[in-house]
C-alpha cells in the first residue's frame, strides 16, 4: 500500500514537472524549435536581459505583489480577528460579501473593477496603471487571507485565551503567546497565497492595467500572442530557479524555527 502511494505520487509529480523541465531544456536550444534540440546556447538569456520591456514589467510585478500581499495580510488578519468576535448575523453578512471575489470568476472581478475605475477615470484624475493594479490586487488577495485565518479561530479552543489570562498573561500577551501562534499558520498561508496569486495574476491585471504599468504576465501574454520565442523558455527557467531557491530557504528557516520551538518557550 505504501509503495503504491509512492508510485502514485511520483506519477503526479512527473505530470506536474515534465512540462516545466521541457521548457527549461529548450531554453538552451540553439534553434527556435521547441521539439528538436539542435545545440547548446545561452543566446536567449542574453536577449532576455537586454529586453527592457520584460525587465521593467518584472520589477512592476514584484513591487505590486509584495505591496499587495503585505497590505492584504495586515488588512485580512485584522478583519478576521474582528469578524470572529462579531455576532452571528453581521458575521454571516460580511463573510458572504468576502466570499464574492472568490466565488466570482476572476474575469468578473476584473471587469467589475474596470467599470468602477472607468467611472472614476472619467470624472477624476485617476489613470489606469499602478494605482488601479495595486487596488485590484489587494481586493482579490484579502479574502484569501481572511479565509485562511478564520478557520484557525474555529479550530482553536476559545478557553485557551481565557486560561492564559487566568494564569497571569495580560490580554495582549495572551493574544501574542496563545492566539497568534494558533492562527499563525493561517496568516502565513494567507500571505503566501496572496503573494502567489498576485505574482500569478493575469486576468484581473489584464482588465485593470494601463499602458504605463505592465506586469510580467501581461508582457508574457503579448509575447505568446505574437510568436513562439525561446526567450519565454529562458524566462521560465529563471523564474523556476528563483522559486526553488526561495522555497528551499523558506523550508530551511521553518525547520530551524521548529527546532527552536521544541527547545524552549514559556508564557
Amino acid at each position: 500500500m505504501k509503495k503504491l502511494g509512492k508510485i502514485y505520487l511520483a506519477l503526479v509529480l512527473l505530470f506536474l514537472y515534465v512540462p516545466i523541465f521541457v521548457l527549461i531544456v529548450f531554453s538552451f536550444n540553439e534553434s527556435k524549435s521547441s521539439s528538436v534540440f539542435s545545440g547548446f546556447t545561452l543566446d536567449w538569456y542574453k536577449r532576455l536581459f537586454n529586453n527592457r520591456i520584460i525587465i521593467s514589467s518584472l520589477v512592476n510585478t514584484i513591487i505590486i505583489a509584495v505591496a499587495a500581499s503585505i497590505i492584504s495580510t495586515i488588512l485580512g488578519t485584522l478583519a478576521a480577528i474582528g469578524i470572529n468576535s462579531m455576532k452571528r448575523v453581521p458575521r454571516t453578512v460580511i463573510m458572504n460579501v468576502t466570499n464574492m471575489p472568490i466565488i466570482n470568476p476572476e474575469i468578473v472581478t476584473g471587469v467589475s473593477l474596470m467599470l468602477l475605475f472607468s467611472f472614476f477615470a472619467a470624472r477624476m484624475t485617476l489613470e489606469f496603471g499602478f494605482v488601479t493594479l495595486l487596488i485590484a490586487h489587494i481586493t482579490f488577495d484579502v479574502p484569501y487571507v481572511i479565509l485562511s485565518v478564520m478557520p484557525k479561530f474555529r479550530q482553536m479552543d476559545p478557553h485557551l485565551y481565557e486560561a492564559a489570562q487566568d494564569l497571569g498573561c495580560s490580554p495582549f500577551r495572551a493574544f501574542r503567546k496563545v492566539v497568534l501562534p494558533e492562527i499563525m499558520p493561517g496568516v502565513v498561508s494567507g500571505f503566501l497565497m496572496s503573494f502567489t496569486y498576485s505574482l500569478d495574476d493575469f486576468v484581473i491585471s489584464y482588465f485593470t492595467t494601463g499602458s504605463t504599468s505592465q506586469t510580467l504576465p501581461i508582457t508574457i501574454y503579448s509575447m505568446t500572442r505574437r510568436k513562439v520565442s525561446p526567450e519565454i523558455n529562458a524566462l521560465s527557467t529563471l523564474i523556476f530557479l528563483v522559486v526553488v531557491i526561495v522555497l528551499l530557504v523558506k523550508n530551511l528557516l521553518e525547520s530551524k524555527a521548529a527546532k527552536k520551538r521544541l527547545s524552549g518557550g514559556s508564557c
Binding site: 478583519a79 480577528i81 470568476p105 474575469i107 468578473v108 472581478t109 508574457i220 523558506k250
Partner: protein
C-alpha cells in the same frame, strides 16, 4: 477597544471595491448606453447558449479529474512523517509558483503538431495526432493549472484528521473502503467543497487556456466577456449581462455544493 473594530478598515475596502463594482455590473447589464432601463442585454445572452454549455461541461470534467487525482495525493501527503510533509508539500505546490501563462505555454509547445509528443509518436511510427486546438487540450490545461488548488485545501483538512480515528474505525470493523467513505470523506467535506470551488471557478471563466490550447474553435464564456470589454465586439452592457449570468450559474452550483458541506450536520 473591542476586537470587532479591528475589521473596520477592511469593511470600508469591501464596500468600495467589492460591493460597489458588482452593483455596477448589475447596473450596466440592465441599462442602455443612454442609461435607460432595458432587458435586451440579458435576453441577448441566450444567443450564446452553446458557449455556456461548452464552458460548464469542460470545467466540470476538469474539476472531476482534479478531485480524483488530488484526493489520494493529499491523503498520502497528510499521512507522511511530519518532517517529510513540509518538503513534499513544497515540491507538490512548487509548479503553482510558476506563472500560469508559462505553464499553459509549456503545454502549447508539448501538444503542438510539431511538438515533442508528436515527434516521439512519429519516431515509433504513430501519429501525428491532432492534440492542440481540441477541447481535450483545454481540459488538460485546466487540470494542469488548477490541480494544486485542489490539493492544498484537501491536504489542510486531512492533516487535522487524527491517525487514531482511522485506527479506531478499522478496529471497529470498517474495511478500508468504508473507513474512506464513512470517516475520511465526511471529515474532508469542507476541503472537497473549497477545492471544487477553487478549481471550477477559474476553469469556467478562463479565456487564456481556451485561447492558447483551444484555438479559435473552443470559445468559452471568458472569451465572450473579454471580447465585449477589450476586444473588437466592444459592448460593456452585453459583457456585464454575460458576467451576471455567469455569476448566477456559479451561485447555483455553489448552493448545490453547500448542501454537501457537513458544517451544520451532526457527525456520527
Amino acid at each position: 477597544m473591542k476586537l470587532k473594530y479591528f475589521s473596520a478598515p477592511y469593511l470600508v475596502w469591501m464596500i468600495v471595491f467589492i460591493l460597489v463594482p458588482l452593483l455596477m455590473i448589475a447596473y450596466f447589464a440592465f441599462t442602455t448606453d443612454g442609461g435607460d432601463f432595458t432587458i435586451r442585454n440579458v435576453s441577448d445572452v441566450g444567443q450564446y447558449a452553446n458557449i455556456f454549455v461548452r464552458s460548464i461541461w469542460l470545467s466540470l470534467i476538469a474539476t472531476a479529474i482534479c478531485l480524483v487525482i488530488a484526493y489520494p495525493v493529499a491523503f498520502i501527503l497528510s499521512r507522511m512523517d511530519k518532517h517529510k510533509q513540509g518538503t513534499m508539500l513544497m515540491i507538490v505546490m512548487l509548479p503553482m509558483w510558476m506563472n500560469f501563462l508559462l505553464r499553459t505555454y509549456a503545454w502549447m509547445t508539448l501538444l503542438g503538431n510539431n511538438g515533442i509528443i508528436n515527434n516521439m509518436l512519429g519516431a515509433v511510427g504513430l501519429g501525428p495526432v491532432r492534440m492542440i486546438n481540441t477541447s481535450g487540450a483545454v481540459v488538460l490545461g485546466m487540470v494542469y493549472n488548477y490541480l494544486p488548488f485542489m490539493i492544498l485545501p484537501l491536504y489542510s483538512v486531512m492533516v487535522k484528521i487524527d491517525k487514531s480515528l482511522l485506527e479506531a474505525a478499522s478496529d471497529l470493523g470498517c474495511s478500508s473502503a468504508s473507513t474512506l467513505f464513512r470517516v475520511v470523506v465526511p471529515l474532508t467535506m469542507p476541503g472537497i467543497t473549497s477545492g471544487i470551488t477553487m478549481v471550477f471557478v477559474p476553469a469556467i471563466s478562463t479565456f487564456i487556456i481556451s485561447r492558447m490550447l483551444g484555438g479559435g474553435s473552443n470559445l468559452l464564456i471568458g472569451d465572450l466577456i473579454e471580447m465585449q470589454f477589450l476586444g473588437n465586439a466592444y459592448n460593456p452592457h452585453l459583457g456585464a449581462a454575460i458576467s451576471l449570468v455567469l455569476m448566477v450559474i456559479i451561485l447555483v452550483i455553489m448552493t448545490v455544493m453547500n448542501q454537501f458541506d457537513p458544517d451544520d450536520q451532526v457527525l456520527i
